[in-house]
């Protein structure tokens, strides 16, 4: 009798998992990414962000206000006491940083771009990534899996151009909400370098948007960096000079 119950339970779990996987319609990789991009794309977005950086021996907390337009323009101002007034401006693939104490604006370039942003697991270069992934990667669906109770498409991204940060990436895309719940970034050698996990997704009208993301640099130990967005507003009106060096240094 006990064995029968166990077998029934196992079968039930498998059946549920199978059902969840089977529930996903067959879609091409490009189509899945197009739906993911549609979820993320916004004319403009404004939010408050908190970055918690687990260094292993201590945790740093950075608070910021962020305004962005499309993928190419963003303006970040830190508001936590230690970094109050520090600002970043990203236009295309260029990045500037403003230091309030010195009243100085510095263009982040060269090897500085490779360092972690404000000590986080996210490099400045990661923040400069832009452009549609479908233009840079061949995307194939390698299967479906359940992740955190959500049915997911598993996508393999293989670079089709040379100037991409990661030769290969692997995405777990929520098959119903079309949000990338997990991603793995691989070096050209095949070594796993970074991993990101979406810890919370929120609906904004018909749009599902990741609001808590954990990024982990696998070259070092530590709990990674958790980024949480609050007070998210889409299609906000912005002043004309929002993304200008003049405003950065104001």
């Amino acid at each position: 009798m006990r064995k029968t119950i166990q077998a029934t339970l196992v079968a039930g779990i498998f059946a549920a998992a199978l059902a969840a996987q089977e529930a996903l319609p067959e879609l091409a990789g490009d189509e899945i990414m197009r739906r993911v991009d549609a979820n993320l794309a916004a004319g403009s977005i404004a939010y408050s962000g908190v970055m918690e950086i687990d260094l292993g021996h201590r945790t740093l907390r950075k608070e910021m206000r962020v305004v962005a337009q499309g993928q190419d323009r963003s303006f970040v101002e830190f508001v936590n006491p230690e970094d109050e007034g520090v600002r970043y401006l990203k236009i295309g693939d260029e990045l500037w940083m403003y230091f309030p104490e010195e009243g100085d604006t510095v263009k982040i370039s060269g090897h500085l771009l490779k360092e972690g942003m404000m000590g986080s697991d996210l490099s400045y270069e990661d923040t400069l990534e832009s452009g549609a992934l479908t233009d840079k990667y061949d995307i194939t669906v390698s299967g479906t899996e359940e992740l955190d109770g959500r049915p997911c498409y598993v996508l393999e991204l293989s670079a089709k151009v040379r100037d991409v940060s990661y030769e290969r990436q692997k995405f777990w895309v929520d098959g119903q909400r079309f949000v990338v719940l997990k991603s793995e970034m691989y070096a050209k050698s095949g070594k796993l370098l970074k991993e990101s996990r979406v810890l919370a997704v929120k609906a904004f009208g018909k749009r599902w948007y990741p609001v808590t993301v954990m990024m982990k640099d696998l070259l070092k130990k530590g709990g990674g960096t958790v980024f949480t967005m609050t007070d998210v507003r889409f299609d906000v009106s912005l002043p004309d000079d929002m993304f200008s060096l003049r405003r950065l240094g104001r």
Binding site: H111, S165, L193
Partner: protein, 415 residues
């Protein structure tokens, strides 16, 4: 004069403790001066040796565009024709060898911590003909290929790595893609150049070609020239070669040992101010001590001065007497100073100063590392001796004049 000297000699040692104290002060000041000079000269020599033997070589050539962006070590500014450039340089006089290098920014990880590093890809054999890095390696120098890495000893210690350990080196390829590979630590460099011990990362071109997709990309060429007897000659040789390279290849920037060395010596000049200040303060203290010793001698012997005057000694002789006393203190003090200086000098030259142990691992921003050795500089012994005697004579002048002006009758009545 002989009698005056005998009287002065006797008087100097009549108050032995006072005289000894003055001489000790002088000896300490002059000895310190000689020792400091030895250390600073040694630091300059080691710094210049580091430039030519460990970091920059006699001439370092890269494209002018690369030199402008040198801080970011770009991989998109390669030497257009490294082989042609090397052929031209090797055809020039006094050139012994050339080696190609490619510097890049990477991230070194032991699996727990990751540090950003400025790494160098090189040909192990060629590089060893130009720079002396292999001489400072514990373990072995790169053999070429086989995922081997040589690290600065301090960098390795910071990451808890030892010989035989594996470490991950991550970097962007020349096409900006992230790449990473595991390397076995085969050598640890503890050189006299702090930047190499603290952050040196060296891999062979064979491994770097795979890691960075170099496809033969080389960003700089370094050159070894014949060793010359004088610094000026070595600088002139390198300046001439750099000028010839820039004239033949206008798109290139050639940094000579002369350029780098002169910048280094400009910085070293600032250090010499500190030694000047030290000797000034010490000589001021010694001068006051000598003046005090002679003045006390004058007051203690006023009646004696009266007697000498009564016997017919001219006021000028009295001045001479006390000046001789000061001079004796100066000569003996200077001799003692030279002895102390010689001792300090020999210690620094033979034993040296273990900087890391003395500083407790704190980075003091010194241009050299490891054990700092002194430099023999006979000129400074002569300077110290002259300064010691001159200071003694100047300090004695006022008390000597005071003694010579004493009235005979007043001096004889003085109790």
């Amino acid at each position: 004069m002989g009698t005056l000297f005998k009287i002065a000699w006797r008087n100097v040692w009549r108050h032995g403790k006072r005289t000894a104290l003055t001489i000790i002060t002088m000896a300490f000041g002059l000895g310190l001066y000689i020792g400091m000079d030895s250390v600073l000269k040694g630091m300059d020599r080691t710094g210049l040796d580091n430039i030519i033997n460990l970091t920059d070589s006699s001439v370092r050539v890269s494209t002018a565009a690369y030199e402008e962006e040198r801080g970011s070590f770009p991989l998109d500014q390669p030497l257009p024709d490294p082989a042609g450039l090397a052929d031209f340089i090797r055809s020039r006089p006094r050139v012994l060898a050339t080696a190609e290098r490619t510097r890049f920014v990477g991230q070194l990880s032991n699996g727990i911590d990751a540090l950003y590093v400025l790494a160098v890809a090189l040909d192990p054999e060629d590089d060893a003909r130009v720079l002396d890095l292999p001489q400072y390696v514990e373990g072995s120098w790169l053999a070429g290929g086989g995922n081997e890495i040589v690290l600065g000893a301090k960098l390795a210690a910071d990451l808890g790595l030892g010989l035989g350990d594996w470490v991950t080196l991550a970097a962007r390829t020349r096409w900006e893609a992230q790449n990473a590979d595991d390397f076995r630590v085969v050598g640890l460099i503890d050189a006299t150049e702090p930047s190499i011990s603290g952050s040196g990362v060296f891999v062979s071109f064979e491994d770097a070609d795979t890691l960075l997709e170099l496809d033969g990309l080389r960003t700089e060429l370094i050159v070894r020239m014949e060793r010359r007897d004088t610094l000026a000659a070595a600088m002139e040789d390198s300046d001439a070669l750099a000028a010839a390279v820039e004239s033949r290849f206008p798109e290139m920037a050639a940094m000579s040992f002369g350029d780098v060395g002169r910048q280094f010596l400009e910085l070293a000049k600032a250090k010499s101010k500190s030694i000047t200040m030290i000797i000034f303060v010490m000589m001021l203290i010694a001068g006051v001590g000598i003046a005090n010793t002679v003045l006390m001698s004058v007051y203690a012997r006023i009646r004696e001065v009266g007697v000498l005057r009564a016997f017919g000694l001219h006021p000028k002789d009295i001045t001479r007497l006390f000046l001789i006393e000061g001079g004796i203190i100066g000569v003996v003090g200077a001799a003692a100073g030279l002895l102390v200086g010689l001792g300090i000098d020999l210690f620094f030259i033979r034993v040296g100063m273990p900087l890391e142990a003395m500083m407790g691992g704190i980075d003091m921003g010194l241009p050299v590392g490891g054990t700092l050795y002194g430099e023999w500089n006979p000129d400074q012994f002569a300077v110290a001796a002259v300064v010691g005697i001159v200071v003694a004579l100047i300090s004695s002048w006022s008390p000597a004049k005071k003694a010579s002006r004493l009235e005979v009758t007043n001096a004889l009545r003085f109790v």
